[in-house]
Each structure stands twice: as C-alpha cells, then as structure tokens.
Amino acid sequence: MEMMLYFHAMGLRRKDLSFLQSGKAVEDNVNDVMGDYSEEDDSESVSESESDQEDVKLAEPSKTAIYNREGLVEKCEDISWPENVGWMHKLSLDVDQEKEVDVNDDLARELAFFTQALEGTRAAFDKFQSMGLPFLRPPDYYAEMVKTDAHMQKVKGKLLAQKRQIEESEERRKARDAKRIAKEVQAEKLKERAKQKKQEIEEVKKWRKQRQQSGFKDGKDGMPDLGFENGKAFERSSKKRPGVSRGDRSGGKAKQGGGKSNNKNKKNREFRNSKFGFGGRKGMKKQNTAEMTNDVLAFNKSNAAGNRKRKR
C-alpha cells in the first residue's frame, strides 16, 4: 500500500526504482499499481471527449454546477439600460443562425461568422438609410487607423510576395511543359530528317542498281530526281550567320565555351600562380645569410647547409 502511494507520488522516479530493484515483490506491486491506473484511465477516457484546440469537455455535465436563474435574470435587469434607449446607443443586431456549425470544421465555422457579420451589416445599413444617417466611410476621410501604415505596408508586401510566388510557379510549370513539348517536336523533326536521308540514300542505291542492271546504257537520262534542278540549289541554308565567310570554322559551339573560360581562367591561373605557387620565378627575395656574407673566402667551399638556404 505504501509502495503504491510512493510510486504515485514520485512520478518519474518510479522508473528508476523498478530498474534498480529486482525480484518478484516489486513486480507484484507494479502490477497492483498498474491495475489501478488502467481502471482510472478507462473511466476517465469514457467521460472525456476532445472538442476544440486543447479544450476538453466533459461528456456528462458535472452534477454540482450552480444555476441560479432568478439571480441571473435579476442581475440582467439591474445592469441593463432602460428599454426606451434608442437603438443608436446599443448598435446591436441579432442575426438568425439557421444551422448548427461544427466547431472543428474551420472553413464552415469562419463562413458562418462571415455570413452573420454580413447579414448584420446589411440590416444595419438599411436602418441607417431609413434614419438618414451616414453609414459608410467616404473615401476622402483620413484619420488615424487602428493599424499603422507601416504595418499595412508589411501586409501589402506579404500579399504581393504570395502573388509573385504563385505567378512564378505558374511560369515555371508552363516553361516545363513548353520544354517538354519542344523536345518532343524536336525529336519528331530529327526522326523526319533521318528518315528523309535514309530514303534518299535508298533511292540513289536503287538507281545505281537499276543502272547497273540495265548496263549503263542510258546515259544521263535516268538520273534520279534528286531535287537539284528544282531551283532550290542557290538558296542559302537558313542557318546563316551574317558577316562570316563560308569557310570560317571558328564559330563552333565547343570552341566558344572553351574560349570564354580560357581567357578568364588564364588570368586567374596566372594570378594565383604568382601569389601562391611554389615553382616558377618569384620575386627576387633576399638570399644571403649572415654566415655567407662573412664567409667570403670560403664561398666555394661552403657546406651544403649554407647552400640550402638559398632559394633554388
């Protein structure tokens, strides 16, 4: 019994105790305690039900709740304004709520509030119009607002950013689709061209075979119609580059990319070599040591250590 209470009081330390101690006695106690807890849990779980956001509601109302109806009504009359006070003071509107709104469905709930506000406003607008009083704010009325201009700028910025994000994603999607389609079209075109080429070669082969079979006697009459005479021979191909002579082979794609990066890399490379490199001609730094300057006579016979000090 004491063990149970002890365990109950030390919430976390129960774990430690059960690890340290071993033996059946502890297990029995643990079983007893667990039994109690599981019962408690069951009863609690039956009587509790989740409602909105961390707010748990009892399924059966507690029996001890006080409800003093007469007191409530009395107090209400106490504090309320006299009945003949005009509506202008209260500005309260009652809006009929037709159906029950599910609390957990956010969209439906907000929609219900929105419609309530809208209907209330409409009713108020009618009343104000019938009384001939101004209701809506004219556009040229400037006064202090409840949110500062800086804050509204931030709001605007956020809205614009959202819009821009949406647009960008749309554009990206469109570009992706267009690319895919273009690729397909390109593939089609290449296939066409390959087919065309193959066809032409086949035709030429056939013609040659034909000529061979018929013994080369036809001369130039049986030349295949290869489309030379169509008048298209002197048309330039569409892939022309103005200002470049025909034999110019400089504009290849591979060369272009290489050339560009070469220039930049060379400068970089030279710079880096001069700064960090080990080999190559560095600035002529001082190469003499005190011993060597003193050792004028023994210059040639200086030992390897002295020579090593000089840069090679």
Partner: protein, 318 residues
Amino acid sequence: MGKKRKHSETQTAEPRKKDEGAPERPKRTLMGWKDKDEVSQQTESTPDSPQVFRNKEKVMVTCSRRINYRYRHLMLNMVSLLPHCKKDNKVESRSSKGATLNELIELRGCSSALFFECRKHQDLYMWMARCPNGPSVKFLVNAVHTMEELKLTGNHLKGSRPLLTFSSNFEKDAHWKLLKEMIIQIFGTPKEHRKSKPYHDHVFVFSIVDDHIWFRNYQISVPHNESDKMVRGGLDKMTLVEVGPRFCLNPIKIFAGSFGGPTLYENPFYVSPNQIRALEKRKKAGKYAKKVKAKTRRKMHEQSNPLEPDEFADMWRE
C-alpha cells in the same frame, strides 16, 4: 462618485443638486441645452427619455504580472479597439485580488473592467466585471490571434463605433442574455464619446458555437466609384475583411458581485487546463506502466512454456 446612468437614479440626483447654492448650468442633453426644470418635467411626463440617457461607460483594462507576449498584445489590441477604455498598470497580487481590483476601478472612475489574468505563462483567463456591485464573469480564452498577424489584412478607423452582431442563441438562456447585456455595454463605444469617430466601418461578431463565445472583428469595405456618401448599389458589393483580433471565450463562472460574491452560474462542461494537463501526464504514465506489465507477463510466459531445443542451433558452430 460613481457615474449614475439609470433612469431612476438620475431623477434622484437632480433634487440633490438643486439644494446647492450656485445656479447650476443647464443640463446638457443630446438635443441641446435645456433647463433642468424642463428636463425633469420631461422625464416625469414622457416615458421615453432618450435625450437624458448618456452612455458614460468607462472600461478599465488591466492584466496580471507575468503575462505572455501574445496575451499582452491581445490586451493592447483591445485597448485600441475600445476608445472608452483606460489602460492601467499590471496588477500584482493573487490574494485579495478582488478587493484590489475593485479599488482600482473606483480610483480610475470606471464603471466596468476587463482583466486579463495569465496563469503559468500558458492559460489566459479574462474577467469581465461591472464595478460597483454588478455581476462579473470569468472566461478561459482560447485560440488567440492578435491584430499583428499578417494574414488579417483589414484596417478601420481607430475609435469608430462598431456594429455588434449576436447570433440568435444568445436569447436561448438566461446566462447568455446576461452575457449579451454585458458585452453590449463593454464593447459598444458610447455615442458621443470624445475619441469616437463618425462612420461605422467595422463589425464585431459574437456567436455561440459549442458553448463558447467566438469573437471576430471585420472591416466593412465597399468599392467606391462615385464620391457619394451613400453608395448606390454598393450593398451588393459589400465585403468584409477581417481585421482581428480573434479569440474564443469559455465561460467558467458568473458571480453576483464584482470579482467575487455568490456564484450565479457555473459551467458544467468546463474542465480546467490544469486538469487536462494532469490527465495527459497520467495517460503517458499509464503507457509506460502497461509496457512494464507486458514485459513481465512475457517473461512469465516464457518461463512457464520453455521452448524445445533448437535442432539447427549448432549447425553453424565454428
């Protein structure tokens, strides 16, 4: 001296004033300057006296110490929404809270109070009280969204009088009616208040869903084509943009006195957040306990039903 608003009480105030020596200034009413005699005659003769009634409501808004940043911003939002409020310093003590607060309210000359109490840096309780001897309500506040959230894009004039809309369930029960009355008096800006602005460009929504009071604040926006004051045909194109803040109130208790007194109403479905947290912890504890139990059960089972020796145990012996 508390400001008296009730019809009967203004009548009793007047004869007292007549006793003083100097001639009193004619009483200012909504319709202009009138002599007191005229006014008293009018009030006695005609039953309707909207001319005499002036909404002199003043709300004191305070909070407790150790309040969270979110709830502090909510309180500041409320201060900006109610031009007839007075913000006061943080209230310190926990014991004799009611007496301190009542004194403060009297000192500032207010007739109601909104007190935001934050417990354990997590739970926000809001008290709505009527000062001298009126009822007071304690709410638990959930689902707080302040005006600073960038998703709430509306804006309205600071100090313009709001339209208060209530869902029809406020008439269903006595305690809802009382709450409705208190809300009208506290959240409604008085008509000729110094800081109030003329037009009506925002709406408050109070609706009861699932026994909670949900609060929303919308800006009324109508697209203006002409420069008329009355927008013709604009009624159809009227839209509402949410300004904020948003919160949800769970009534806990209604007391007959201000910050104390006999309980008039207790919410039968209310579970305090402490209890909820305790329950969660207990459930978790139960999980571990069940695991331990299952382990011991397994061990017992293994001990009582020993396995047969494995034929292939030494097949791979090296």
